[in-house]
């Protein structure tokens, strides 16, 4: 059996450049739907493996964990495809399908080699979505992006090799940090999952992608990494702390960031932090929470990127400092953006409320007070920057005088579909809960939970209002904020340049001196051998005899020692 939704998507991608107009649009929408149908038609379990170069591969393994992630990826693929229909650029459309295929294929992979192949394919195919900007800036960003993705792939490959060498085999199950190669594989995942200090490729390059590209990027790579983490490293305690840092530090950046797509990139790390905490806690509730929140995030983060992308398409900018007042021209996009904002902020009746609370409940049951307080702070923070800041600065705030058309019909259709998913999960969480890896024994809609969440969010909104009205709120400024990407975009290149300059200057200064001194030394050292010097003079016979006797005597002495 080679029935694999990933192969279906790749085949569909090959067809996209061959068609035009309606047939192409139909194909773009049909392929992810067909993938979904195929995924759910596959029986649970591992399809018969195949031998390749002496390796036992299991390309398709369907269980609840892989199926819920693959379902999310295919829904995200469908939304992105609809959102991309207005494009004439088939490269982006085809590559988005290949990229989705990589995420789906990697999720269904039953062995580490298949996982690695899709891991690399995801990195490679998605780089095209940044290159597709087709300018100097996007070219550079894509190169930086690809370098990081390939580094992640290399680390994973090295980890797999160590694992196989130690006789642990190729099966992709729980790996654990202490197993051979475990640390390397975790580092590989850590890069794609944007662990702290490894995260800056995400905030650096996602906002440089094309409008459609950023939507696709927001769904796949990082959540694919979360899946790999959930499969391989569930219950690794260190991840709780890693996740907490991820949930907290980006919100500070998000508040002062001007590029709204970069704000969303920071808020993505914040959301990933919640998922990583869930994986770190492990167990049924932790893994359920991470999976559910990952799926919800694919859709609501996609919706937010879509709405900001629509704004960018119409106005040519995503800078908060240049936007405002767009609710007059783009009321539907504004409303849909606010659905995404409510979902990511975990407002009751929206998807984040049903999914994030699983993770909070897992933290609560473990009685991790510090972790719980930090996540609660991060929840208030995400509402602040993603829930309020994005819609406020794009659609309200100061009217900058843009009088533009609404987003294209296909974009609005994609956003409506995403919004419907967000509300559906929020209103009927069991739709998603029933798909989760473990049975869910948790009710999100209790009086206390709803009221507490509304208290947190409404008072955070009040804080925002007070800050804006009193003028304390930091204005949106045209600027960049330095982050860990400073290391490779500024410090390393500058360090290298400084080193080369220093080397040049050093050579100019020390070179002549060294040459002169060297010459002098050579003169002194070789002096005795020159014609006319003491050694090269003809020696008298009795002196030669003396020397011979001396040398032979010394050798005799040495022989006796």
């Amino acid at each position: 059996m080679t029935a694999n939704p990933a192969l279906l998507l790749i085949l569909g991608a090959a067809g996209v450049p061959l068609l035009r107009g309606l047939p192409r649009h139909a194909l773009m929408a049909a392929v992810p739907v067909a993938g979904l149908v195929l995924l759910w038609a596959l029986p649970e379990g591992t399809a018969p493996g195949l031998q390749f170069l002496g390796l036992e591969l299991m390309p398709v393994r369907v269980d609840a964990l892989s199926r819920v992630f693959a379902t999310g990826f295919l829904i995200a693929a469908l939304l992105t495809m609809v959102y991309a229909m207005h494009l004439r650029d088939t490269l982006q459309q085809a590559m988005t399908l290949v990229y989705a295929a990589a995420a789906v294929g990697g999720t269904l992979a039953g062995d580490l080699v298949t996982l690695f192949v899709f891991w690399e394919l995801a990195g490679l195919s998605s780089a095209f979505l940044i290159w597709a900007g087709r300018n100097e800036r996007s070219h550079r960003a894509a190169t930086r992006y690809l370098a990081v993705q390939l580094l992640s792939g290399l680390l994973m490959l090295a980890g797999i090799v160590l694992r196989v060498q130690s006789g642990a085999g190729l099966e992709f199950g729980h790996l654990g940090l202490d197993a051979p190669g475990g640390a390397l594989i975790l580092a590989a995942i850590g890069i794609k999952c944007a662990f702290p200090l490894l995260h800056s490729w995400l905030t650096d390059t996602y906002p440089e992608a094309t409008i459609v590209g950023a939507v696709a990027l927001s769904a796949f790579t990082t959540k694919f990494a979360v899946y790999t983490l959930a499969r391989g490293f569930a219950g690794t305690e260190m991840l709780v702390w890693v996740g907490l840092v991820m949930a907290v530090f980006p919100i500070f950046y998000a508040v002062i960031e001007n590029d709204l797509r970069r704000v969303l990139a920071y808020s993505m790390i914040n959301q990933l932090g919640f998922m990583v905490v869930g994986v770190g806690i492990g167990g049924a509730l932790g893994i359920n929470g991470a999976s559910a929140h990952a799926v919800a995030d694919m859709v609501f983060k996609g919706l937010l990127f879509m709405s900001v992308g629509a704004v960018m398409l119409r106005t040519g900018t995503a800078n908060g400092s240049d936007l405002g007042g767009l609710y007059k021209s783009m009321p539907q996009t504004a409303a849909l953006c606010m659905v995404g904002a409510a979902s990511i902020s975990a407002f009751p009746l929206f998807s984040g409320f049903a999914t994030k609370s699983l993770i909070m409940e897992a933290v609560g049951q473990e009685h991790l007070t510090v972790a719980w307080l930090l996540l609660l702070f991060a929840s208030a923070g995400v509402f602040h920057h993603a829930g309020i800041k994005i819609p406020y600065f794009a659609f309200f705030a100061h009217d900058r005088g843009y009088r533009v058309a609404e987003a294209p019909l296909n974009m609005r259709a994609a956003m409506v579909m995403a919004a419907v998913v967000c509300v559906a999960i929020g209103v009927a969480p069991s739709l998603l809960y029933d798909m989760l890896p473990y049975a869910v024994d948790y009710a999100p809609y209790t009086t206390a939970h709803v009221i507490n969440q509304l208290q947190l969010l409404l008072l955070a909104a009040l804080a925002f209002t007070v800050l804006v009205r009193t003028g304390l709120y930091p204005p949106e400024l045209r600027s960049v904020n330095i982050d860990a990407d400073y290391v490779y975009r500024r410090a390393l290149p500058q360090g290298w340049r400084a080193l080369s300059r220093a080397a040049d200057a050093g050579r100019a200064r020390i070179g002549p001196v060294l040459r002169r001194r060297g010459g002098e030394l050579w003169e002194i050292a070789t002096g005795p051998l020159r014609p006319g010097s003491r050694v090269s003079r003809p020696w008298s016979t009795h002196l030669m005899v003396w020397w011979t006797a001396l040398v032979l005597g010394a050798m005799l002495l040495l022989a006796f020692l």
């Binding site: 800036r137 550079r140 919100i251 500070f252 950046y253 508040v255 002062i256 609710y327 007059k328 021209s329 609560g364 049951q365 009685h367 007070t369 719980w372 307080l373 609660l376 702070f377 208030a380 923070g381 509402f383 602040h384 309200f396 009217d399 005088g401 009088r403 009086t447 206390a448 009221i451 507490n452 969440q453 509304l454 208290q455 947190l456 969010l457 409404l458 008072l459 955070a460 909104a461 009040l462 804080a463 925002f464 209002t465 007070v466 800050l467 009205r469 709120y473 930091p474 400024l477 045209r478 600027s479 960049v480 904020n481 330095i482 982050d483 975009r489 500024r490 290149p493 500058q494 340049r497």
Partner: protein, 88 residues
């Protein structure tokens, strides 16, 4: 294309102020809601009256103030990295 002078309700400062007051009333109500249900908390702090409300307000306020301070350290010109590339 619409006229440049199409003013909406939100362009009136008075209406914005009304929304702000509305939000404040809503906040007061939701704060008072703590009187009317029993909590089943995992943590002792959740027992405090209006804990989530206070935490949300203080957290969000502190977040912005700290971020504003961080901006002094982190902020660079928009073309910071591009300019850096031309040095060599």
């Amino acid at each position: 294309m619409k006229d440049d002078d199409d003013r909406r309700r939100l362009d009136e400062p008075r209406n914005v102020t009304r929304i702000v007051y509305g939000l404040a009333v809503l906040c007061a109500l939701i704060f008072a809601a703590d009187l009317f249900y029993t909590k089943h908390p995992h943590f002792a702090v959740e027992e405090w009256f209006g804990f989530h409300a206070v935490y949300g307000f203080v957290g969000a306020f502190a977040l912005v103030i700290v971020a504003k301070g961080l901006r002094r350290v982190l902020r660079r010109d928009e073309d910071y990295y591009e300019r850096g590339d031309d040095d060599g």
